[in-house]
Symmetry: C2
């Protein structure tokens, strides 16, 4: 019934004292104001403007509108300002979820870049394994999920979760075999998994464990998993103590130097992909786009060309 334009007109009349100058103030012509007032009057069924001679005055009802106009227009301006602030990265929010082993290196670097580049956007970070982070993304509780996918093995499993989502390849993370420094194969240039079929194994998170089983199966044995822990520091500790061997991704190993263990590249090599995942719409939100760029940069990937399909993903 009453809209913002009408209020703006009433306020302009109240401020300017005549239709003509109100029109000038608003950038309209005089008849526009004239019939706008008439429309408002017949819509509200009340007299809003008193025409006396060639001057106009607001009636009480007109003054009511003009008075409310101040607040309403201010609120509209405030909303508009907030929107443009978000659009201009002077405000905004990104909710990031990343898997634990990325928290040590990739995420801090990303947050630092983001903070330096856009100090006014607020970034929240939650640690979550890919299944949970993708669920949060789907659920609307998260804007960007950093996930990983092992090549080959359970890619298909993840892939179904990625329908309707967009992914950006951040980096390839090579998986290495970690053995005690005193291990006979410690000095080898590369490790063939079959040579370690008799070892005791230390497994990580469920999906990592699945990857281990998958690789071992290809190598023709079933690993004897003696320990399971999602904490990579603990895994390395166990290896150092000579209690077994483990598959650990480079991303972890690069975070800090670990003595008394040898990290051997696998032969054939195995790697996992680190991915940034979001939704097509969120991708276009400035703060989210900035976060994605920061992630790519922190990972050392080309921010442009990384909007890629999963390697080996079917279509």
């Amino acid at each position: 019934m009453i809209d913002a334009a009408g209020l703006r007109v009433m306020k302009a009349i109240a401020d300017e004292g005549s239709f003509t100058s109100a029109a000038n103030a608003l950038g309209f012509t005089q008849p526009a104001i004239s019939q706008m007032v008439r429309r408002l009057e017949q819509r509200t069924g009340t007299v809003l403007v008193e025409r006396y001679g060639r001057q106009v005055r607001l009636t009480e009802a007109g003054q009511v509108l003009a008075r409310h106009a101040v607040g309403v227009l201010a609120a509209l301006d405030a909303a508009e300002e907030e929107i443009t602030a978000i659009a201009g990265l002077r405000a905004g929010r990104v909710r990031l979820q990343a898997f634990p082993s990325s928290s040590a290196t990739l995420v801090p670097r990303t947050l630092a870049i983001l903070k330096a580049r856009h100090p006014d956007i607020t970034v929240t970070f939650t640690e979550a394994e890919p299944p949970e982070s993708l669920a949060a993304l789907r659920n609307g509780d998260c804007d960007v999920a950093v996930a990983f996918a092992y090549e080959g093995g359970d890619l298909g499993e993840l892939e179904e979760d990625l329908s309707l989502l967009v992914t950006r390849r951040l980096m390839d993370d090579e998986v290495r075999l970690v053995v005690p420094g005193t291990h006979p194969h410690a000095g080898d240039a590369a490790a063939s998994l079959a040579d370690f079929s008799g070892e005791e194994w230390i497994a990580g998170c469920p999906r990592c464990r699945g990857h281990l089983l998958s690789l071992a199966d290809t190598a023709g044995f079933r690993p004897n998993v003696a320990f399971e822990t999602e904490d990579y520091v603990a895994q390395l500790g166990l290896v150092t103590a000579g209690l077994g061997v483990a598959l650990v991704p480079d991303l972890i190993l690069n975070a800090a130097k670990h003595d008394d263990v040898a990290t051997l590249p696998l032969s054939p090599a195995s790697r996992r992909q680190i991915l940034a995942v979001t939704t097509p719409d969120l991708q276009r939100v400035p703060a989210v786009a900035a976060a994605l760029d920061a992630l790519c940069e922190a990972a050392g990937a080309d921010p442009k060309a990384s909007t890629a399909e999963l390697v080996g993903a079917k279509t």
Copy 2:
């Protein structure tokens, strides 16, 4: 850029959770919502709604709009409610100005009627002689002026002030000659002014004095004005004291009984008209219309047929 309709839509989406039910809630069809959102998005240049699968969620920018919508729409509703309250006489204001001698009888009765009939409108009353009250009316400081005009004499003078204004005839107020009870003519059925050419006169307000002079002139003499006071009680007191005679309108004489004086009808009779004056636009304001009706009723005039020309007014 952002209008009330857009905010309403965003809020409906936030509340309902889908375009379809938002459309139902607002009484629109689904495509209307769909393209309303699209328009808003390209106007603001931001993503407001995140389409994930077949569900929709507001982005941060969208939530900003939905949040502001609450306040803005509430303010609009409040404005609308105030307007309809004014239209429905559940609120509103009437600023009444009346000349002093009407304050005693006509105005109190009017205010009583108005208060009984529309207890929620606020009436303010200011005493003012017709020139001032009409100036206030012209100036926008008054909604209804109660004025009087003597027949014949200075009607033309008032008439020019009445251009652009509308008048309602409230009553005819006959002017009587007041003489001491001991006066030789005190028992007469009527008074011919010429018979009192030798008296000392007590004159009232400037316009009343003008009327006296005019009548006397017609009767062929120039009155000896010994006293001037705008206070009718004082005038009657002076008459009672035998210090002179005076012309006093019925309106005053009916307000209270005055002993020791005789009130004689003039021959030929002279009367003044009591008028309610307002502007054409204000006439259509409910509270003003109610006040006019109350005035007519208090004056005993027919509220319908009283939108009259001044008696003798040229066109």
